[in-house]
Symmetry: C2
Subunit: 714 residues, 2 copies
């Protein structure tokens, strides 16, 4: 006996006419689901009557076409006071949801994209020159003259890398980060290595930038010292919320500090150089006053170490090619222009500040405190321009802190690419309410927050970990491009020139990577060398798991309904109205229902047996429902039930076993402990048994009575 | 179309012959559930063939009678390595489970019951006398002479209370605790007040005893001081595990320290009195040396306060009448004899120690350090008997610590009575593996552990809270007995005498309760005065909730299977083999299945639509299964589904809505985050919607293929 079906006005009125038409089988449940008064419309064909709803103000769906509805914003609001409060808080923090269709409008202009994607690179001019000076001074003040040549080499490197990436952008218009380029051209493993290196760097960058920003604030207000970590975390939280508001809003917010710094820095260089060469007629390179004695001879080692440290100016250069999809159309053209603009600004600022350092900072020991750039600024903005000094310092503070934004822009995007390729859980590929990759943003914030807490807000030790990852990623990306051009040599005009540029980039960045790794190995780069393989292993394990799942996802069930023979087991405690209802449900599924009572109290079992026999008089013809009592001498409820279910399942592989569990749903969470958690424990145990379906009948207090229900037998 | 049923050898062979016979409908699934080879037996009637299993070594069930199985011990062992390890650890700690049928053999002899139920009362002689002395000394040393009269009053009180309880025991042979007696005779509220007062006292007793025991150990080994709380909790844990092993085993273990103390104390009294009166010819009452000046005059207030404090000797007296069911048969006779024995021992020890105190402790200030009893013992066991002193001290330590056992014996029993009457969650009424009320034991341990942690193992402040609860319980119990006898005045010979004894008990204990409450109010008794109403409110709320549940427990379902018309909604992601299997399951339940796909990625939705149309060609005649695609412009998965489910549920109150959720079960817990928690979140949300059944199809990796399953359409 199967469930009968009533005549139903809302069933599709069309009848299948022999041959199934394509598309006719896709359900049109639209009429069914709109609440509100009805309006009957005669269709053009016989029997094609439509019942149309007059829509209420807040309709949950509207119809796109046959078989397809579109949810409206109103379905997003949850029920329940607490949930609604949470919903409105979320709205207040990150704004109203943005429809997927509006994605294009959320993209960034070149002006804003430059601010978001270059803040990391440009901020590095604030400390790259100083890094070179500090390394050279070990060989005495005289060695500081090498600053300029080293800076020029770094500038040359910047030119090579920029040219290389300008070729990557049009070749990979959907985001040509190192991961994509390396994976497509070199294979999965190099791609994952590049991804791991970049992800590590992004996390480090957020931690270091936030710590630096808070550190600067505390040097202004020392009484805030006890709250360092709280301030760090608050800053991470603020940046996270701003980024969850979507790329357009965060772009607008973060444009200000970036341009503020660029303008301030150019002002500093302009004023400084004018002062020195125009007014004071100083030579181009100042003579360093020999205040510091050499503690080691000037060797190639020292020069290489200085170079390696100075390469921190290059971090963040690849951000633009990673982030192509956030540009307005035409993306590749806009991205290329922005990359060139950024490289010019970066190069000019780096060269300018190096020149200023060689002019103004010739008499002091480069020790890091005060910073070289602060010393230069206080010298340049002397006399009538002194009011500019604090403004410039503020701009440095702003760019240092907010250069974390580049990580916020690129990390979630990289994570989404990995998730798309199944190397990370799929949630990283979902866009949140504001089209941002929320999971990636939150993961980045959590990891950076963890680093800040572990290192107690003192992340200086982490700075040495940076450059290795960056140059590994550079190298893999450029090598990938070399392969890319070689493969396209038949079709692509000028492949030779492109390959040479990328080859040059690959060779130079590989050299730098090796130099940096060796020079910085003991200072922390070894951590990256260990972390990258671990992360690659993790990525591959996740992918392997998803692969297995896709291969072996199957139920222990037949494929056709007519092959399914149900058996239902339903644990019962006593025979009351609710039990009879659940037995009716079970009976409506299957011809073979066994109600099982675990007897831990003989009196109750006898009562049940008596009730059962009395009840059976009301259903005299029904052979499909049986009572089984299992005496449990050790008073356990779950284990005998499970053992029985297992035995039935084992001995009846041809049937589909469904366990019906009436579940008690109370009005308040604190009422839960008042009910036996037997159903919950049984469900948990059954979850790990393949091929047994579990049906929860939620049972509510004070629920309305079903209309037309028969009276209980007593 | 309903699910077909194959011919099934294991179905009951009997066919219904018109009129249903009483009893014939109770399922005999016994044959079905025993794994192992089969043996066919011809029955005596035509068609009554039985298939009998040859039982394997570890059969999970054996048959008691038609429709009734008995689980064997083998079903208790869980699957899974971790669960099995847990199981064997539990077995090692608390022993093999004891069958309910063996309950009688687990009862205690009078000898052991006295130890378990009297340790609380008898241990109090170790400090009751001292409590009187410390209070009297405020009025100067001369006032100490009042110790004897006060002790005699307390002794008289003990006689009255004992006589009263001797009458309660035969009247309430199933446990005549204050709760039962007060509830039956005075009403629910007084019963709950008595229960609350006693439960508070039991918890306090455990915390105070354990803290005292550990405190004594630490005074021997001061280097253990930092581990006070850890030692407290370890002691609670040990006592908990011992009690979980069942009343018989804990009775055996705890008999030793109780009798050790009783023997030691009588030895002390015997030796002491002999020494003083026989050898030294001292007067019966020593002259107290006026070492301490009065700081306040000797008023009735001081005398009452001393009396109130001394009444701590009475705590635990009612334990025996609470614990009647742990005695061997005849319970009431054994309990009465034990009560009398205990009262005699208690009275003799109390009087003896008071006499010793007045003889030996006349020259020292009663300050609590060293304790009066230690001072007496060191004086009595002087000279050749000095080796007895540490032994006596050890016995005091033992009884003080282990008098917590009385609480462990009575608290779970009281909780089980409350649970039986629905004033506590029903789990408190279940007997554990060893027939002990495990939940009550664990709850007591948790509460006492909490007190110990909160008070950092220094529970002296809690001692003042004790006596109020005890005397409230006494009073309510005795008043209840007065009503009891009055009601039975027609049938019970000698009701007048019984009523007078209990009335005397009620009046005196009420007086003491008032005195104690007033005298100790500021010292902490106020906490009890607040806690009791709170607990009574809690009990009543719980009972009210259970009452509502019993009244209104119902599903939103018809009572007869033929009235149930199913509608099934099944969220799908794509159309693969597993989806087709779950659709087949859904279709086998209902003629109206809607597969709902929430479209957050148009490409996937189009792919699904195409796959669906291709699949439909394989089931051309089936109108029962439809596809609905809901575009979700804001990329949320759950909310549109819920909104759709709600609308369908609202508009089709005549159908029973079942949501089929394929649930992914992975092999390792750490694989869970790799899968969308969509099903879980959906399930949680649906749980709070009345009338919607949720069916989980657990989906396993590497599960065996169902035999005879058709090939997937592609």
């Amino acid at each position: 006996m199967g469930p009968l079906h009533e005549s139903d006005n809302n069933m599709p009125a069309q009848q299948p006419s022999g041959q199934p038409q394509s598309g006719s089988k896709i359900a049109d449940d639209f009429d069914v689901i709109l609440p509100g008064p009805m309006e009957v419309r005669r269709g053009s064909r016989l029997g094609d009557t439509r019942v149309r709803m007059v829509l209420p103000a807040k309709q949950p769906f509207h119809r796109l076409r046959e078989g397809t509805l579109e949810a409206t914003e109103s379905v997003e609001v949850p029920e329940g006071r607490l949930q609604q409060a949470g919903y409105w808080l979320k709205r207040a923090l990150i704004g109203v949801p943005i429809a997927t269709a509006r994605a294009d409008q959320e993209r960034l202009t070149k002006f804003k994209a430059l601010a978001v994607l270059s803040s990391d690179a440009i901020s590095s001019v604030a400390f790259a020159t100083e890094a070179i000076l500090i390394n050279l001074v070990a060989a005495g003040t005289a060695a500081l003259a090498w600053t300029l040549p080293i800076s020029l080499v770094i500038l040359a490197l910047l030119v090579v890398v920029t040219l290389s990436y300008r070729q990557t952008i049009p070749a990979y218009p959907n985001g040509g980060g190192s991961y994509i380029v390396a994976r497509e051209n070199l294979g999965t493993l190099p791609g994952l290595v590049a991804a791991a290196a970049l992800m590590i760097d992004y996390v480090l960058n957020v931690a270091v930038c936030v710590a630096a920003g808070v550190h600067n604030v505390i040097s202004l207000f020392p009484s805030l010292q006890p709250y360092v970590i709280a301030m760090d975390l608050a800053l991470v939280l603020i940046m996270t919320v701003l980024n969850l508001r979507g790329i357009r809003e965060s772009g607008t917010i973060f444009a200000l500090p970036t341009y503020f710094f660029i303008v301030s820095a150019f002002l500093l260089i302009g004023v400084g150089l004018t002062r020195a060469y125009v007014f004071n007629h100083q030579p181009l390179i100042g003579h360093f006053v020999p205040t510091v004695q050499a503690i080691e001879p000037l060797t190639i080692f020292i020069l290489l170490r200085s170079f390696a440290t100075g390469c921190s100016a290059m971090t963040g250069v690849e951000a633009i090619s990673n982030g192509i999809p956030i540009f307005r159309k035409p993306e590749t053209r806009n991205a290329s222009i922005t990359l060139t603009t950024m490289a010019c600004i970066l190069g000019a600022l780096f060269l300018g500040i190096t020149l200023l350092a060689m002019t103004y900072a010739t008499q002091a020991e480069p020790s890091g405190n005060p910073t070289v750039i602060a010393k230069i600024a206080s010298d340049v903005f002397a006399g009538p321009l002194v009011f500019l000094f604090p403004i410039f310092q503020l701009s440095v503070l702003g760019i240092l802190t907010l250069s974390a934004e580049t990580s916020y822009a690129d990390f979630p995007r990289l994570a989404s690419l990995l998730a798309r390729d199944k190397f990370l859980p799929s949630m990283f590929s979902f866009r949140g309410d504001r089209l941002a990759f929320s999971s990636g943003i939150i993961a980045l914030a959590l990891l950076a927050g963890l680093l800040l807490v572990v290192f107690k807000g003192d992340t200086n030790a982490l700075i040495n970990l940076f450059a290795v990852g960056v140059f590994i990623a550079f190298t893999l990306s450029q090598s990938g491009m070399v392969v890319h051009w070689w493969r396209r040599r038949a079709t692509h005009r000028g492949w030779r020139r492109s390959m040479i540029i990328n080859g040059l980039g690959a060779v130079t960045t590989a050299l730098v990577a090796i130099i940096v790794a060796i020079m910085k190995f003991m200072e922390g780069a070894w951590i990256v060398v260990i972390l990258i393989p671990v992360m690659v292993w993790l990525f591959r394990s996740i992918a392997h798991h998803y692969h297995l799942v896709a291969q072996e996802r199957t139920f222990d069930l037949p494929l056709r309904p007519q092959d399914i023979h149900h058996r239902v087991i339903i644990p019962i405690d006593r025979l009351d109205r609710a039990t009879i209802q659940s037995l009716a449900y079970a009976r409506s599924i299957s011809d073979h229902v066994t109600a099982v009572h675990v007897d831990v109290d003989e009196e109750r079992a006898n009562q049940l047996r008596a009730d059962w026999q009395r009840w059976q008089r009301y259903i005299p013809d029904d052979e499909g429902v049986n009572l089984l009592i299992i005496a449990s001498p050790f008073r356990s409820l779950i284990r005998p039930l499970l053992a029985y279910i297992d035995v039935v399942h084992q001995r009846h592989p041809e049937t589909v076993l469904t366990v019906v569990l009436p579940e008690f749903v109370v009005s308040h969470w604190w009422e839960y402990p008042l009910h036996n958690q037997t159903a919950l424990r049984l469900k948990t145990s059954l979850l790990f048994r393949p091929g047994i379906a579990v049906l929860n009948l939620p049972q509510h207090l004070r629920t309305r009575m079903p209309s037309g229900a028969a009276h209980p037998p007593e």
